[in-house]
Symmetry: C2
DNA sequence: GTCTATACGCTGATAGAC
DNA sequence: GTCTATCAGCGTATAGAC
C-alpha cells in the first residue's frame, strides 16, 4: 500500500517545505524538480520517489489551505440567513488569504493552479459552492460580476508586493471592509467591531 | 537593420493571430513554439526567424492593448480634479478589458506576463502611474488595498468563464459600477446615464 | 526575406540496479 | 529509499538552401 501520498515521513515534509519556499520565490513553472532536488541535496529521481508528478507536489503544498477553505465553506453553508452566509464566507476567505499570503501569491500567479482547479472535480465543486454562497441562487449579471470581482480581488491581494508591508490585522480589516462594499453588505450589528 | 520586429510582413501578422488564439486557449506556458509552427504549417525555426524569443511573441501580442492602456493613462492624468482622474482611468480600464477579453484572460492567467511587467522598466513605470491615479498621492493602507483589489478584480473579470455569456454592454456597465463602489466614487452627474 | 536541417542544454518523467 | 541511465519534448541557436 501507500504507493505515494498519505504516509508522512520526514523526507516528505522537508521536501514540501522546500517546495513551498521555491514556489513562492520563482512560481510553480519557474521551479524545476532539479531545483528542489538540489536544495535537498539529492537527485531528481529521489524526488520522484516521494511524488510521482510535479502536480502531486503542488497539490500537497496547497492541501492544508484547501482543507481550511472547505471548512469555511461548510461553516458558511450552515448559516440560515443569506447575510450571515455572506458574512461568514467573506471573513473566512479574508482570514485564509491573510494567513497564507505566500500561498495566495502562488495560487494567483500560476496557471498550473488554474488547471488543477478546473480539472479536479472535487475542487471544481468547492469552487461552485463558494460561488453560490457569494452570488446566491439568483444569478443576475450584476451579482455574478460582483462575485467574480470579490473572489478574484481577494486572491490577488495576497500576492501583491505593494501590500507586503501592511501588517496582518490592518490588511484583514480593510480587506473585509472592501469585500463587504463590493457585495453591498452592511457590517453585522452583532459584530465585535 | 530590422533584425526582427518593426517591419510588418503578412507572415508576421498571421503568426501573431495564431499565437493570440493559442495563448487564449492553452495559456502562454501551455503553448509551445512547435504548436504555433504546426498551426502555420511551417517548422519551429521559421517561427524563430520572425521572433528570436517566445517572450518577443508575447510582447507583440499584447502591444496593441498596452498602447491603449498608455493612452487611457495619459487621458486620466490630464484631468484636473481627482474624481475626474479616477473616473477616466476606471472607465478606460473597463473598456479595455471588455474589448480585450481574450487578452485579459492571458495576462491574468500567466506568470510569464508578471515577469514581463516587473522586468521591463517602461511597463513598471506605467503600472506605477496607474497605481498613483487610483490611489492618489496619499498612500494609506485602506486606499492602497482598494486600489489593488479594483485593478486585480478587473483583470480577473475579463478571464473568468462564468462571465463569458454576458454581453459587452452589460459587462461594461456593471464592471464600472462595481469598480466605482470599491473606490467609493459617486457616478458623475454629467454622465450620460 | 523566408524558410529547413540539425543540434545544444534543459525539462518532466520512467525503468531498473543497488 | 535512492541511485544511474535514458526518454521525448521544450526554448534556443546556427548554418545554409532558395
Amino acid at each position: 500500500m501507500a504507493r505515494t501520498s498519505q504516509r508522512s515521513g520526514a523526507a516528505r515534509e522537508r521536501l514540501l517545505a522546500v517546495a513551498l519556499d521555491l514556489f513562492a520565490r520563482y512560481g510553480i513553472s519557474g521551479t524545476s524538480l532539479q531545483m528542489i532536488a538540489d536544495e535537498l541535496g539529492v537527485t531528481k529521481a529521489a524526488v520522484y520517489y516521494q511524488f510521482q508528478t510535479k502536480e502531486e507536489i503542488v497539490r500537497a503544498v496547497i492541501a492544508p489551505a484547501l482543507d481550511d477553505l472547505t471548512k469555511v465553506t461548510e461553516a458558511a453553508e450552515a448559516q440560515r440567513r443569506r447575510a450571515d452566509r455572506l458574512e461568514t464566507i467573506l471573513s473566512g476567505l479574508v482570514d485564509l488569504i491573510v494567513n497564507n499570503r505566500r500561498l495566495a501569491a502562488i495560487m494567483q500567479a500560476d496557471p498550473a493552479i488554474g488547471h488543477l482547479t478546473t480539472s479536479h472535480p472535487a475542487m471544481q465543486a468547492l469552487y461552485d459552492r463558494i460561488t453560490r454562497l457569494l452570488a446566491g441562487s439568483g444569478s443576475d449579471a450584476e451579482t455574478l460580476i460582483s462575485t467574480v470581482m470579490v473572489s478574484g480581488g481577494l486572491m490577488i491581494v495576497g500576492a501583491d508586493p505593494r501590500l507586503a508591508h501592511i501588517d496582518d490585522d490592518t490588511l484583514r480589516r480593510h480587506l473585509l471592509g472592501t469585500a463587504r462594499r463590493i457585495m453591498r453588505l452592511r457590517p453585522p450589528a452583532h459584530s465585535k467591531r
